[in-house]
Amino acid sequence: MTARVGVVTFPGSLDDGDAARAVRIAGAEAVRLWHGDADLHGVDAVVLPGGFSYGDYLRCGAIARFAPVMEAIIAAARDGLPVLGICNGFQILCEAHLLPGALTRNQHLHFRNRDQVLRVESAGTAWTNTFQPGQEILIPVKNGEGCYVADPRTLDELEAEGRVVARYVGGNPNGSQRDIAAITNAAGNVVGIMPHPEHAVEALTGPSLDGLGFFTSVLKHLTGVPA
């Protein structure tokens, strides 16, 4: 049976098309979910894509967090539904309190857009189980508000529990504390990542195929066998 992975479109989402394509290239069926629809249509996992939901008004992700589809996703995520938030999706997951901390304006104030090396720190999540711990990957980063912050106690907890999923290597593009690029919740089913794995799934358009691993990981997680 083909896994069905939902990709949410909010007003202002930009990368929902690329996320859906990454899901298909990984071998799953992409199911488009609409922000105003509280029904998850029986999907096995959800991707919250990048972009500028609701124009980034108030704070990035602050208004998207109250969309009807998010109420359903928050409840399902607490029951173990795999959820990957990319860029704006990461911001929404923090605003929804599914992940700790917050994403703030890049320290240098510039929008940063480049291919970025990351080190995968945790291969124990639903979205990173096809990587090796310590593996370095190359995927694009593009954000203006990607600076991850949390209080020192939360950061220590994330480190101690192995919940820092990926770190920036070779230069921190936004000032994120402890070079954090991606984190997970305690159960490992919810992952937020600031760079864009969905833009690194094809040789024609990406700097590598390294991003595909996030999408094949969730299929392995769902089926128990490598995709």
């Binding site: 602050a62 890049n106 912050v149």
Partner: protein, 86 residues
């Protein structure tokens, strides 16, 4: 009708690069005696009936501010006071 004003500020320990950029621009105005600028947000809320401060605090806590990085204050101002900055 009195109006509810919510002020949202980044917590002191959170870096405010926007405020820093403004502070760094001040010398170009010839201002050299400012040590820090921090930027926040002021939100004015008008209720249809009597202002409800508890409801306003709930709105501030759930939506207007992100308590992870921001502090907020909620206060009531009369119409006169809104524009009466000394």
């Amino acid at each position: 009708m009195p109006r509810v004003v919510v002020d949202v500020m980044l917590k002191p320990e959170i870096l405010d690069p926007q405020g820093q950029a403004v502070a760094n621009a001040l010398p170009r105005l010839g201002v050299s005696d400012v040590s820090s600028v921090r930027i926040g947000r002021r939100i004015e809320i008008d209720f249809t009936g009597e202002p409800d401060l508890d409801r306003a605090r709930e709105i501030a806590d759930k939506l207007l501010a992100n308590p992870v990085i921001e502090d907020y204050t909620v206060r009531l101002v009369t119409d006169d006071a809104v524009d009466a900055h000394p």
